[in-house]
């Protein structure tokens, strides 16, 4: 399915498509880009996009954005995800940067934005805490003002790729005596500061993606406060809105469906009754994708006319994650007995994996995808949002 594109937009689409084909680094085409690349390798594409001026589609032109329309941004998103390119680090480019250029001061914009664009700084997100998951407003990490510093103490968790990070943007409590939402500030912390410790959390797929981050008497210059003290909740919500719009994942689902079809064709003979069952199951998911894609295109068309989709973005998160879980599950089933094997992490050439290459990441993807309905606001929370904000219940 395509948007009805103007000649100009169609030309843009072709340009993006050709650029990816000509420039996406072969080195990044590994079995599982999310776990198999070094920090340096995962930044290769980032640097190429930066050089081209395409690294930050969302950003206004004055800060280094390409100045695209809503439709162009959508086309770019669609083409890059269809081609299976590794997206630039979201925590840097689509999460913290918009907070900085929207709410930060001039000095902060000058200091941080160019380094985000170039890939020089890698950011991670200090939101969740052991006691604050879905209920983010209860963050307990404390920041106490001492002269021109904040002294920060607390424990952040589920911090994605903190092991690579140069900076962490944190929600911290600066006023414990008001209602939870009103006492939170948005603080930028240098990961090299004394008192910052990163501890890996290994997940059920065996990978090291998330971490605990401990903050012990970390001294943070007051100039690293974004916006106003105790207004952090506003900025946090603004950021979460950005996080959820990109969760439909149509391009990714389409790619994985294509691969699934190839696996079913190769693994299950046409005269096996399971073959038809798989075709039917795949068709059902394909229709789910089609319906979600049509919804996304409808919303994009509305946005192009200036209509805010509002909390309906939660719909994309719910359905996008459920669909991808279905696809990874079907893929895991399609490879039959080989679904019993799983690659060892960190991946090394010495680890033997049985079965055909196309099945080697099926188990880890299947396991890893369980996180999708949990993170970024669990799907239960997303349903609450729609119930309240859309349906008025």
């Amino acid at each position: 399915m395509e948007l009805a594109l103007s000649a100009e937009d169609a030309a843009f689409r072709d340009e993006v498509r050709a650029f990816i084909a000509d420039n996406y680094p072969a080195e990044m085409r590994v079995p599982n880009p999310e776990t198999d690349l070094t920090k340096e390798q995962s930044l290769l594409w980032h640097r190429i996009l930066h050089k081209k001026g395409w690294i930050a589609p969302l950003w206004p032109k004055e800060y280094g954005g390409p100045g695209w329309t809503v439709t162009q941004r959508f086309i770019f998103e669609q083409e890059t995800s269809r081609a299976g390119t590794l997206p630039p680090l979201a925590f840097s480019v689509t999460m913290v940067a918009p907070v900085i250029y929207t709410f930060g001061n001039e000095a902060q914009k000058k200091k941080f934005l160019p380094r985000i664009l170039s890939g020089e700084d890698w950011w991670c997100q200090g939101y969740s805490e052991p006691g604050s998951g879905s209920d983010l407003a209860t963050v307990r990490t404390k920041a106490v003002r001492e002269g021109d510093h904040y002294v920060v103490n607390g424990h952040k968790t589920w911090t994605t790729l903190a092991q690579h990070a140069d900076w962490i943007f944190c929600l911290v409590r600066t006023d414990p005596n008001v209602k939870p939402q009103s006492g939170i500030s948005f603080l930028l912390i240098d990961m090299k500061s004394p008192g910052v410790t990163v501890r890996p959390i290994i997940t059920i797929d065996g990978s090291h993606e998330v971490n605990d981050v401990f903050l012990e008497n970390v001294r943070v210059p007051v100039e690293n406060l974004v916006g106003e003290e105790n207004k952090g909740w506003t900025y946090a919500k603004f950021l979460l809105g950005n996080e959820r719009t990109s969760m439909a994942g149509i391009g990714r689902s389409t790619r994985y469906l294509r691969k699934l079809k190839q696996i079913v064709k190769a693994e299950i003979p046409a005269d096996d009754p399971a073959h038809l069952e798989f075709l039917r199951d795949i068709a059902r998911v394909e229709l789910d994708v089609l319906a979600l894609e049509a919804t996304e295109l409808r919303v994009v068309a509305q946005m192009a006319r200036g209509i805010d989709p509002g909390p309906a973005a939660s719909l994309f998160k719910i359905r996008g994650t459920e669909i991808f879980q279905d696809i990874t599950e079907l893929t895991h089933r399609a490879i039959g007995n080989y679904g019993l094997a799983i690659r060892e992490h960190p991946v090394s050439a010495n680890c033997f994996m049985p079965g055909p290459d196309y099945g080697h990441t099926a188990s880890e993807k299947y396991l890893n995808a369980r996180k999708l309905s949990i993170y970024g606001g669990s799907n239960e929370i997303q349903r609450n949002i729609i119930a309240k904000a859309v349906l008025g219940l």
Binding site: I202, A274, H332, N337, L340, F352, L367, I374
Partner: protein, 376 residues
């Protein structure tokens, strides 16, 4: 239909429970899984000393005559503790095949080593193209004197890296999907021409790809009876694996319920949210149904009922889906914690996922259930 356990069976259950509580908590298991071999010979010996490895064998074969019900009792507890040692592979599969098919010489030669814990077995039936079909066998065996010589490739053989002996299915007649041409052979794991490539399985165990090059094996049972024998043996394995899933479901439900009563968000325990209450009610119902069907199947196995194989497929499917549902929701309700290697919840998830593949996934078995009905 509720099972009233005999005194002996109760004794078996409580002794397994005590043993696992003392020697097989989650931390002990973690150490076992992380060890060089990936399982514990010491625990295996303890299982033998306690009579667990003898329990299902007939008294004639030197066992305790407990049959499938004793296997069910043991496996339910093993499921609760995520025991990795190859009880199903050695006792239920290999032991069952030898007891059913073996000559008296083979029984006397092999069963004592299983019962005393000195020998471990694996069953090598899967091949690259076999998927869940026992009859799809390309590995060949030809007669040479009193023995046979085997050549071919077996794949995804669970517990093979631990095994001393293998039972291998190989073709003695017919083409690649011919049911009547498959026979079973006992092969020494360290025999000349046997080559293993080992790897870890999704549930923290070990498995191997096996290549056989002119390997000597001895026939188990009659030529051409391999598929029928494997099907019967699968029914018993399903009885055991279903019990393991039920044990795992019970633990997942208990853990989830406990977590929902202590984990607080939005100023209250998450268990007070109706949407999660209903989810946990469905998990409870799934457990009850799985438990009942598990008992029903194992009682039928014990009695040797007709129509057993269809029931086994039905149970594998229904209990497989129940396990999948509970495992998904247990991870979901534990939030990020459910995704961690540190918590046991994810490990139950992976074990249930593994069982759902072995001997056919729930979709395969629901179809077989339908087909056997149509054929009747």
């Amino acid at each position: 239909m509720d099972i009233q356990f005999t005194e002996e069976q109760e004794l078996l259950r409580s002794s397994v429970q005590r043993l696992l509580r003392d020697q097989y908590d989650f931390e002990a298991r973690r150490k076992i899984v992380a060890s060089e071999e990936g399982f514990s010979r010491t625990r295996w010996k303890v299982f033998a000393e306690l009579g667990l490895l003898a329990a299902p064998f007939s008294e004639d074969a030197g066992g305790l005559g407990g049959g499938p019900l004793s296997t069910m009792i043991v496996m339910q507890e093993f499921g609760r503790h995520l025991v990795v040692e190859p009880f199903v592979e050695t006792v239920v599969l290999a032991g069952g095949l030898i007891e059913r098919l073996g000559t008296s010489e083979q029984k006397q030669g092999f069963i004592p080593g299983i019962i005393d814990g000195s020998r471990i077995w694996a069953l090598a039936w899967t091949e690259r193209a076999s998927r869940f079909d026992f009859a799809n066998v390309a590995t060949k065996a030809r007669r040479e004197g009193g023995d046979y010589v085997l050549s071919g490739e077996k794949t995804m053989v669970m517990a093979a890296p631990w095994a001393d002996h293998l039972i291998v299915s190989a073709r003695t007649a017919g083409d690649n999907r011919d049911r009547g041409g498959v026979s079973l052979f006992v092969v020494e794991r360290h025999a000349a021409g046997v080559n293993l490539q080992s790897f870890k399985s999704i549930d923290g165990r070990r498995a191997a790809e096996i290549s056989l090059r002119e390997v000597r094996g001895q026939l188990l049972g009659a030529e051409g009876e391999g598929v029928a024998a494997l099907e019967t043996c699968r029914d018993r394995a399903i009885g055991a694996l279903c019990a393991e899933v039920v044990g795992a479901i019970g633990e997942l439900n208990a853990a989830t319920l406990d977590y929902s009563k202590t984990r607080k968000q939005f100023g209250t325990t998450i268990g007070s949210f109706q949407v999660l209450q209903h989810r946990m009610v469905d998990m409870f119902i799934a457990h009850q149904e799985a438990l009942s069907l598990m008992q029903h199947l194992n009682l039928s196995l014990n009695a040797g009922d007709s129509g057993l194989s269809r029931l086994a497929s039905g149970a594998k499917s229904k209990i497989g889906y129940a396990g999948k549902f509970v495992a998904d929701q247990a991870v979901q309700l534990h939030g990020g914690m459910g995704m961690t290697d540190e918590l046991n919840v994810g490990h139950y998830f992976k074990r249930i996922s593994s069982i759902n593949i072995q001997f056919g996934d729930p979709a395969f078995h629901v179809l077989r259930y339908a087909q056997l009905d149509a054929a009747a």
